[in-house]
């Protein structure tokens, strides 16, 4: 590398440092602290200089590297190879994945913590698959998906605590309610253009949350609903000491009592629910309505000209997506046994949309990878409580910058007129 280049990149790095100083100076350097009456400022210049130094160094290294362009090339070729492999062997990959998921609870290293994380990841996978119908297949950007999740959770909780019906009756009802809300919202707004739709759905998500907070008589406001019944294993509850004359799961099968039984049951429950969502999506993609969704995503005007009713078609996608959100919501309610509006903030919607888009819109495997990656990142940073959301957001930006189409880009239509042109 020439001397001139080095001087140039050095100057550039110093400029970066100046900007970094302007960025971190006031916000990091001058921390406001409340003391008694008012606010006072505690300077933290050490951290600022550290951060600025890191920025200068990082920029300098990138500059030197960009002369050679080695590192990122390596990264992108690696991931494209990876995408190639998974697309070719998608079926093997899926079967291995499912097998692994089935035996996971019985692996030697699996403990309570792993199971909880796995259940959380599976919940997000299910939500991601549900939203994939709306965003990935029908191409409608829904930023308020959490509203349907909330409707599912609250309708399950309210029905179960009021009428005492079992999980298996409440689950479909919760799905129906969520789908109903999907139609209720979708009917007026689905003829809007993409970005308007995004903001209206976002607004709808907030409306639902605000209603949940303020409608004390029904939802118990910010305190939430407690004592939501746990699911039973086809009528057998997971209790340590069952009531007189009743069998519990462990007495019926003659097992030692363990809290893990319920966790494992919940794990399989969400696994099955998620797989049903996936199976349903894969099947409906091949039906006329599924094809209409994909066609609408690609070209709405062409669809209209060919006699596809865009509103009705979008409405079915919206309602079906909402229904799966509702199922996931009732699972969430029964797992936590407690729900409050705090679980249904906008950030949840953002996470689910991020999972779908980062995975590569329309790709079912991508959703799985993105869920594991994003939830995994927040779990790795768990000990650094405050930094985990920074890492999460940073990962979203980085993936988009380096792989704008998502981890597994899959926009291949299910059918092509003249066969695959490859």
């Amino acid at each position: 590398m020439e001397k001139q280049d080095i001087i140039k990149s050095f100057k550039d790095s110093l400029f970066t440092g100046l900007i970094a100083l302007a960025l971190f100076g006031p916000i990091v350097g001058l921390r406001t602290v409340s003391k008694g009456e008012g606010l006072f400022i505690t300077p933290q210049w050490g951290i600022v200089f550290l951060l600025v130094g890191l920025c200068i160094l990082g920029r300098f290294l990138i500059n030197i590297n960009s002369a050679k362009r080695t590192e990122f090339k390596f990264l992108s070729s690696f991931s494209s190879k990876f995408a190639h492999i998974t697309e070719d062997k998608a079926k093997h990959f899926a079967i291995t994945g499912i097998l692994f998921a089935v035996v996971f609870p019985f692996l030697p290293f699996t403990d309570r913590y792993f199971m909880d994380v796995a259940i959380m990841i599976l919940t997000y996978i299910m939500l991601g698959w549900g939203l994939n119908i709306v965003v990935g297949l029908a191409g409608l950007l829904d930023l308020g998906y959490v509203a349907f999740y909330a409707v599912g959770a609250y309708s399950y909780a309210l029905i179960a605590t009021t009428f005492g019906w079992s999980f298996w009756i409440c689950l479909p009802l919760a799905g129906v309610f969520a789908a109903f809300f999907g139609i209720l919202l979708g009917f007026p707004v689905l003829r809007l253009r993409g970005d308007y739709l995004a903001i209206v759905t976002l607004g709808f998500g907030e409306i639902i949350r605000i209603i949940l907070i303020n409608w004390y008589e029904v939802t118990n406001g910010p305190d939430g609903i407690t004592g939501i019944p746990r699911p039973s294993f086809f009528g057998l509850p997971f209790k340590r000491s069952p009531d007189e004359g009743e069998a519990s799961f462990h007495t019926f099968f003659g097992l030692e009592y363990s809290t893990m039984h319920r966790i494992i049951f919940l794990y399989y429950l969400i696994l099955v629910l998620a797989l049903i969502t996936n199976y349903f999506t894969l099947k409906i993609r091949k039906l006329p309505v599924g094809r209409a969704w994909e066609a609408l995503r690609e070209d709405e005007i062409a669809c209209k000209s060919l006699g596809v009713n865009p509103t009705n078609t979008k409405l079915t996608a919206f309602a079906i997506g909402a229904m799966f959100g509702g199922f996931a919501g009732s699972f969430f309610a029964t797992r936590q046994a407690f729900i409050s509006p705090e679980s249904f903030t906008f950030i949840e919607s953002a996470i689910i949309v991020a999972i779908v888009v980062l995975g590569g819109m329309g790709s079912q495997t991508g959703v799985v990878l993105a869920s594991i990656f994003l939830i995994g990142i927040t779990e790795i940073f768990r000990d650094l409580e405050q930094f985990r959301m920074i890492a999460f957001g940073g990962a979203m930006v980085l993936i988009m910058v380096f792989k704008p189409k998502g981890i597994l880009a899959n926009r291949k239509p299910t059918i092509l007129m003249h066969g695959d042109k490859k």
Binding site: P26, I27, V397, M400
Partner: protein, 303 residues
């Protein structure tokens, strides 16, 4: 009647703040067609920079008008740096990629900024002693006295001045012409020798500076801020931009005023708990009847 006028005054003040934020949304949407989700958080950072400088100048002890002017300039400068950097880091590499990519990147950026401020400044709310006091009183003889505080007058006048400068910038200068040209056709503009990247950067700088002024007003008006104020203010301002017709600058201001008025009227006459619901419900209703907002251009799709 007096109560109505009071709510009207409050609504216009709030609307000015929303309008200034909404301009940032509408400009960015007009020029690169993306929803800049991190804009609400840029506003929040502006509020923090303003708060910090208010404290510093308060300790030094400078006269009020000078403090206001200095804080205004400082907040604009530092917040513009944030807007510029966010654009360079998160949006510029994604230009020309598919429609949702910048949106996700912006969502990520918004999460980063929020949590960054939370880590750097702490999660607790930051109160500030009021700088302004007093105001003009009207209808002194009736039961309800309408008060227009000096702060409200300051906010509205500052907004009008900024809007004037801004309108001049967009309609009369080379920069504004370049910007409007970029909105219409970026490729053609580039062919005509205009630096498109630079124009987009400047758009972000202007949007962020206006948001920082809104942040300063927010600190003065409410007296408390925390790292989370950007979210709600951001989506309301975006709602305002959509309401007025996204891409239209007078529309953003009009939408801001409308959202401000709807919010205060709703909290004054219906219920204060559901004031956020009001803004969104109005948005949904308006979009059903005016799909492109009040002042938006009708959107004709060509095949």
């Amino acid at each position: 009647m007096e109560y109505f006028i009071q709510q009207l005054v409050n609504g216009i003040t709030l609307g000015s703040i929303y309008g200034l934020i909404a301009i940032g949304y509408t400009m960015v949407y007009g020029i690169i067609g993306m929803i800049n989700f991190a804009h609400g958080d840029i506003f929040m950072i502006g509020a923090f920079v303003a708060l910090i400088s208010f404290i510093i100048f308060g300790l030094i002890g400078v006269a009020l008008p000078i403090i206001l002017l200095l804080v205004l300039l400082i907040a604009m400068l530092f917040t513009a740096c944030y807007g510029w950097t966010v654009e360079k880091l998160a949006y510029k590499p994604l230009r020309g990629s598919f429609r949702l990519a910048p949106l996700i990147s912006a969502l990520g950026m918004s999460i980063v900024l929020q949590n960054y401020v939370q880590v750097a400044q702490g999660a607790r709310v930051k109160p500030m002693q009021p700088l302004f006091s007093g105001g003009l009183e009207f209808f002194k003889n009736s039961e309800f006295i309408v008060t227009v505080s000096y702060l409200q007058i300051f906010i509205v006048i500052l907004t009008i001045i900024l809007m004037g400068i801004f309108t001049y910038l967009i309609t009369k200068t080379d920069l504004g012409r370049a910007q409007r040209a970029c909105e219409q056709d970026r490729t053609m503009t580039a062919l005509l020798g205009i630096n498109v990247d630079r124009t987009i950067s400047i758009t972000f700088i202007i949007g962020s500076s206006l948001a920082s002024v809104a942040g300063m007003m927010f600190v003065l008006y409410y007296g408390v801020i925390d790292f989370y104020i950007g979210f709600l203010a951001g989506i309301k301002a975006f709602t305002a931009a959509v309401l007025g017709g996204i891409g239209s600058l007078p529309g953003a201001m009009l939408g801001g005023l409308l959202i401000g008025l709807i919010e205060t009227m709703w909290s004054g006459y219906v219920s204060i708990e559901y004031k956020d619901v009001a803004a969104f419900s109005v948005l949904i209703v308006v979009l059903i009847f005016f799909p492109t907002g009040f002042l938006g251009k009708p959107d004709i799709e060509k095949v």
